[in-house]
Symmetry: C2
């Protein structure tokens, strides 16, 4: 049964079955995460052997809780889960998150089928089993058992792998990617990727959706959700190779299916397939912070000819064009270059390029109707001035040239060491993705181009 997941992510009351005083227990960690959330709701620890946990009154069972419960987290041994789930159905709980593992992922399909029978023909919805839960960074609620606080932002993350999902939180923080919600789907007994894509499609806090997937249960529903989604959907689908598929089967019990069919289907539906989680975050940064590219004609600005060539190669390998400069743009940039140096695309501003050359060249490309996106690069060579490079880009951001005046994306690339690295953060913080590799920059521009194409299709369909 489909339905809006608003109450799931913003419950008025949560119970934790298996809540514990023992800090090494998952039921303790989950309760503590809810308690330290920046979120107001009723919290009910449930454990027949305790009277009080972490300062809260403890209940013996779900039925004993006064009033209704929106969300129940279950963290008890697998064999006890059916009984608890039945109690939740009786209590008319709306959502259940089964953290417990020991179901289909270790080959026990009959125990998982038992859960399926219990919720059949009810209104209850279940996340998991074998899930970490979720962290709703938009509203400040942590309904997971793992530590770590994601930076608030507009990327929704869905992970089938618990550990990788958690690693992604730290990776996201490290890469300055802000998160709206991050959720582990586990064995996908009920709430599936398609339900979540549907929800995030209209979630005002989410701009980009990223998924790590091992197996897909209902391929048609999944592809339809991507197709109907009003936002870019990035998909890491693991298990491409034969050995990878074998490993997938043993990890979550999912069948990996034919990899080529997945690729074609995801593309057909309008999703973007990423090679791995690093590429997912690269693209998510670009899509979250920059306008889409409404065409594939890219202008490249550099202070090192070699880097310009590498960027050009990487762009062309990713379906982007590096057109010759128009006469008008040529003239504008020629003015600010040293004698003997003529502007081309890629535009080599020469090693000692400072604020003025970077700023003038970037402006000229943004103004040029034959250019759909701009890549600005800096090599920390002998005469390079990285602070002036980042300064020129920040000026574009502060004058709202990227988003409001020209509505064109700008990505940055750098080659250098620690001194430069500190400046990289100024750009990331301002929403301008900057990558240490020409390939990663080109891949992310490719994603911005695909998002432009998706928006054009969406417009035509209206």
């Amino acid at each position: 049964m489909k339905g809006n997941l608003d109450t799931f992510f913003k419950p008025k009351s949560i119970a934790v079955v298996g809540a514990s005083k023992n800090p090494t227990k998952i039921g303790h960690a989950a309760l503590k995460n809810i308690l330290i959330s920046d979120y107001e709701c009723k919290i009910y620890p449930i454990n027949p052997h305790e009277k009080e946990i972490l300062g809260l009154r403890c209940y013996t069972k779900v039925a004993e809780v006064p009033g209704s419960i929106d969300v129940v987290l279950i963290s008890v041994p697998a064999k006890l889960v059916p009984q608890i789930l039945s109690e939740c159905v009786k209590k008319q709980v709306k959502y259940v998150i089964i953290i417990s593992s020991g179901f289909s992922e270790i080959g026990d399909h009959s125990l998982e089928n038992e859960l399926r029978q219990i919720i059949n023909n009810t209104h209850i919805r279940v996340l998991g089993p074998n899930t970490m839960g979720y962290k709703n960074a938009s509203d400040g609620l942590d309904a997971s058992f793992v530590f770590g606080v994601p930076r608030k932002g507009n990327v929704a993350l869905i992970s089938q792998s618990g550990a990788l999902g958690i690693g992604m939180i730290y990776l996201a923080n490290n890469e300055f990617v802000g998160v709206s919600k991050i959720i582990g789907v586990g064995n996908k007994l009920d709430i599936d990727d398609d339900d979540l894509i549907d929800y995030f499609s209209t979630d005002p806090e989410t701009k980009v959706i990223g998924l790590y997937i091992e197996g897909i249960k209902d391929g048609r529903a999944f592809m339809n959700s991507i197709k109907a989604c009003h936002k870019p959907v990035l998909v890491v689908k693991a298990g491409r190779s034969a050995a990878g598929a074998r490993a997938t089967a043993s990890h979550t019990g999912s069948m990996a299916g034919s990899d080529k069919i997945y690729s074609a289907a995801i593309k057909q539906a309008g999703g973007i397939r990423c090679r791995d989680v690093v590429e997912l975050f690269d693209m998510a940064q670009a899509l979250a912070g920059q306008p889409p590219a409404m065409g594939n004609r890219i202008g490249i600005i550099t202070n090192g000819g070699g880097l310009g060539i590498l960027l050009t190669d990487a762009c062309e390998a990713n379906g982007l064009q590096i057109p010759k400069l128009s006469a008008k743009t040529f003239k504008k940039i020629d003015k600010i270059l040293p004698d003997l140096i003529k502007p081309n695309n890629p535009i080599d501003l020469v090693a000692d390029a400072g604020f003025e050359r970077y700023e003038a060249a970037t402006s000229a490309l943004l103004e040029d109707p034959n250019i759909d996106g701009v890549i600005v690069a800096s090599v920390h060579g002998g005469y390079a001035r990285p602070r002036e490079f980042t300064g020129a880009i920040l000026k574009m951001v502060r004058q709202r040239k990227l988003h409001e005046t020209y509505k064109k994306p700008l990505l940055a690339t750098w080659v250098g060491g620690r001194e430069f690295e500190d400046l990289v953060w100024d750009l990331k913080a301002a929403g301008v993705p900057i990558y240490p590799s020409s390939w990663r920059t080109a891949r992310s521009m490719h994603a911005l181009y695909l998002e432009g194409e998706r928006l054009k299709r969406e417009e035509n369909e209206d």
Copy 2:
């Protein structure tokens, strides 16, 4: 004329023509770099208008210098270079480094031909024009005009692009890649990539050779040098795409040639083509710090099933195999895993894996004759213990298991944030490359496998 470049890299005397008191001049920077080198030699500033520069007696011209000169650096306007070069020939200077630009790279082929005429039928050898010079980190001599001190190590770097060459120094330091020599070849009037590959092939300070190339002048000589080289040769060849080739032509005046032919020829010669400088450093780290893989059968160890699958996919896409575990290895690892969890390849040690599980699994794979290389991965999930992960790997290094006992390579992968990043340095410092992406890890293992194949061919030829 070919010849040993020993005196070129370890001169007893250096003159700088165009030496200057003005700190914004290249001739000032070059002289200062030589002076602050940790290297003993005679230094002669040459400038007709000065009596003394940076505390050294200044000479009016090359001819005035007493005794012989091994290396002359020239940094004067292009049109004055032929005259200076003629004086060097007359003085029987052994090597000249022409830093000055303004030759074929801006389309002035006749001026460059003039230089060629001057050195024709002489014993003098010329680097450049349009070069940054070189930094010989093995011996502590900096004969370049650019700032930055490379960390001493065993990777020789050759760059046709000056700015990118310089950026590579900082990138190398940042990535913990130690450098033996880094040299800019500029317009390659005389000293070419093949001369340098020949030299580094027997240079005891060099273990890996990396090149950034835009155009190749003598394709046959280049390929023969790679073929004859006793060390791995990594090649970034820019100008793959049509637009990239156009940009190459305008950057150094090189013809890019057919990209596919280059790829095939480099492979045929036994070199390894890298996509960009990031991949060059990834592979250089692996080749410099790890034994080669004498086969393509890889064992993968992880604490997150998802990461194991992504690594498997990336390995298979790069010609590596992830074989099933032998009965013996299975038994060894099964013993140390929690109940219900069975070892596979990739081996999932489960989220809370500590030192013991990592150490036992790594040892078991290193001991297994069916495994040629090992990848150890950690996701910074809720229960991960990154310090125990790195500890287990460091134990292998300290007990010399990788290099002496089993002679097998080990690469590491991580997914996580800042807390983990600090530990990453412990591994890099110990010579174990650790990458933040499954793709980069697999590519580097691929390079170790190719090096194993090259060594087998070399052995067969003896």
